[in-house]
Amino acid sequence: MSVDTTASLEIATPEIVEVPVSRRARIISGSVLIVVGVLCAVAFGLGSKAGHDARFRLSPPGAKVTMPNLVVPARIFAIVVGIAIAASGFWRISRDFSRRAMRWVIALTILFVVFAFLCWSVTGPSATPLDLFGPGGLLGQTIFLAVPLILGALAGVMCERSGVINVAIEGQMLVGAFAGAMFGTISKNAAIGTIAGMLAGALIAALLAVFAIKYVVNQVVLGVVLNLLALGLTGFLYDAVMAPNSNSYNNVGTLSVLKIPLLGNIPIIGPLLFDQTIIVYLTYVLIFAVDIVLFRTRWGLRTRAVGEHPKAADTVGINVRRTRYINVLIGGMLAGLAGASLTIGDSSGFVKNMTGGRGFIALAAVIFGRWSPRGAVGAALLFGFATSLQTVLSFIGTPVQIPSDFLGMLPYLATIFAVAGLVGRVRAPAADGEPYEGR
């Protein structure tokens, strides 16, 4: 009995009970930091030409308030960053960081290494300043590419926090994209298309919920099968209905860009964050909504209880199955919205298998973000950034040619490293994927 009490105490107060990091883990993570620091200093510092500056354009072309270009001495910057990272590695081994501090160290390391890498790549043969914040710029593209990933990841978080594994994000996105294009075109109304996309995503989610909760099918198997079903269904309907008359069924048009009056005028972040389409604003709202619902409301507490310990939740009167059904359906709507954002926010319309693995990247973001909304959004932004970097770097010539496909691998490799525990152990909700046999 005493074992049970301590276990529940730890769950209740995760911030207070701090398990000391083992010496071995400390040495490994410290050594990794040192290696990263040295590599950064050598590759990006000594690798870039001496005296060459990296130039970044901060204002998009045609902006009212123009900012001067940001100029960074690439070589010195990379060397300083590398030394700082290596030093933090030595500190980790000899003195150790607290858990919270280590998180900051990792975040800053990633940030600065990426920036050092950028500085290095801009000093290449073309040497034109790199556009950062414009719509086609590095960060502008990141927002554009991250929106479906963020929504898909939020879908996964909602679902998995209640204890249902959602491998079917990809399929939900795909039907959302299809329904969004189709009904948006028929009704000539992007809002109706968006709602149709959300409902279509919820339809696949309903199948997931019924077969997972009622018929207790293995949820990973189910997710894979539902992805296939969505792929077949959208492909079939595309061939049968959409492709023959694409004008009347697959011509949804683009969403107009809405500039938010005051916020949109802030020099750098204004155009980046507040001069976007309605779906992007909706995404901002949903990020906060999911975070607040999960951690600040009664519903969220119940959801998390059901995902961690359904029996205990049942004992205190929470309807486990109903909670799961509703969360899975909400997740499906979010993923459907993610899919709809691919067709409605864009002019290209629906094509077969157009999600192209974005649902799996969103799943990776859920896991990489440790099943928390904030973490998942951060991971989705990171993965969006990696994709954006991939396209931007293929335009500017880097000093040493980097195959863009290797950058494309980054999200996947990062997730493998994350689940392998190389950057701290990730832990799923305790009852994630386990059906509940009670009510």
Binding site: V167, L233, F236, D405
Partner: protein, 416 residues
């Protein structure tokens, strides 16, 4: 070995340590569930064909005038599609007697040809299942297998038979390494194989895209992402006269099936794998090395998927050249094959033949009736969905149901 004798209540999915529920007497035979699942899937597919068929929809507009026309138009559309599917997969009266005798066997040959990689991928997924691992990474393992086999096939010059063997071995080893990484990560760090294998799939896809841009893999003078053509010495020989495509790969797939069947039922290693699959904790208590079992299972599974890659590239799946379509959806179809075959070797062959027939017939169906080949994907997904939920099929058809409480053993979480 017959299907009926082997497809019992054995779990097709990784069990979570609880024993499989014993089915009560008088309950519907699993084969009945499979047959009914298939019928239901075909019916749903038929409804989709009818609903999207233009003549049928035109008839609906004049429904009040002639309601019978709607039914006849729908029946015409659905039957035409399924007849064409059958003709493309089994026997085609349209081409019967034209040309040589061998030509009459073309549909069967196409079915066997399409079934070959499906059987191998199905074995790759199924063997991992039996060890308690869900190998979603067959796609990636197949891709790196095809890359390695293709590279040997179109770059090296070797004597006829040796060249083929070397290429196949290279493909199997590459697939085994790709699968083995996921097994090693699972054994060493506990990283969930579902997550790592999904990610490895995309890494493999990017790797293939990259390779097709390098001079080692890019066809000289071509600006498309396509490799040179595999030399004749490294191709899998055809079993029947050209142009029938069924090749030695089928025999390799059957040999692999026999090998896996022997491994699982007759060998010490297979016993360990099944024990680990049934209950890792019990196996560990009994002194078995669970981690090594995971690595071994994923090595073999990856090797089998790599063989499927060989059958694609050396058997002419993409005209003997490596392209980024070399996977052709086989990786995920293999999961459905393994599930339909309940993760047992010989039933997997039957499942592979069935889905191979659907694949072969779908091409004919599309060219003759304009019905999208994606119909087959729908049918396939539905069949597996229904089979995975026997309680659902029993409820739909009002069959006598057993107590389904034990079915929870089918489920397994990320932490498991």
């Amino acid at each position: 070995m017959s299907v009926g004798g082997t497809v019992k209540d054995e779990l097709a999915v990784p069990p979570s340590g609880e024993p499989a529920p014993r089915k009560s007497r008088g309950e519907a035979h699993p084969l009945v569930v499979i047959a009914l699942s298939f019928v239901t899937a075909i019916i749903v597919g038929g409804i989709l064909i009818a609903v999207t068929n233009q003549p049928t929809r035109n008839a609906v507009r004049h429904f009040s005038a002639s309601p019978g026309k709607v039914l006849s138009a729908a029946w015409h559309a659905v039957s035409a599609a399924y007849v064409a599917l059958f003709e493309g997969a089994i026997f085609d009266p349209h081409t019967f007697g034209h040309g040589s005798v061998w030509h009459d066997f073309n549909p069967i040959s196409e079915t066997l040809y399409n079934a070959t990689p499906l059987i191998l991928v199905g074995l790759a997924v199924g063997l991992a299942f039996r060890t308690g691992l869900f190998n979603i990474g067959a796609q990636g393992q197949l891709i790196v297998g095809a890359m390695a086999a293709g590279y040997v096939g179109f770059t090296w010059h070797l004597p006829p038979f040796i060249h083929l063997v070397v290429a196949i071995v290279a493909g199997a080893i590459a697939g085994a390494i790709w699968g083995g990484i996921a097994g090693w990560l699972k054994a060493r760090t506990g990283a969930h194989e579902v997550i790592t294998t999904i990610m490895m799939n995309y890494v493999a896809l990017d790797l293939l895209d990259y390779a097709l841009k390098t001079s080692a893999f890019r066809r000289p003078g071509s600006n498309q992402a396509i490799s040179p053509i595999v030399y004749g010495t490294a191709r899998l020989g055809k079993l029947l006269p050209s142009p029938l495509r069924v090749n030695l790969g089928l025999l390799i797939a059957l040999a692999a099936t026999a090998g896996v069947a022997w491994l699982l039922t007759r060998s010490r290693l297979g016993f360990t794998l099944r024990a680990v699959g049934a209950s890792p904790t019990a196996a560990r208590t009994a002194g078995m090395n669970v981690g090594r079992a995971y690595v071994t299972a994923m090595l073999i599974a990856g090797g089998l998927a790599g063989l499927a890659g060989c059958s694609q590239i050396l058997g002419g799946g993409t005209n003997y050249a490596l392209t980024n379509a070399v996977d052709a959806g086989l990786g995920f179809d293999g999961i459905t094959v393994a599930l339909l075959g309940r993760a047992k070797p010989w039933p997997t062959v039957w499942a592979g033949l069935l889905f191979g027939a659907l694949r072969a017939g779908s091409a004919t169906m599309q060219s003759r009736t304009g019905t999208s080949i994606d119909l087959v994907t729908i049918v396939q997904a539905l069949v597996v969905l229904f089979i995975a939920a026997p309680a659902f099929v029993r409820a739909v058809f009002r069959l006598r149901s057993s107590s389904d409480s034990g079915a929870a053993a089918l489920a397994k979480g990320w932490n498991g």
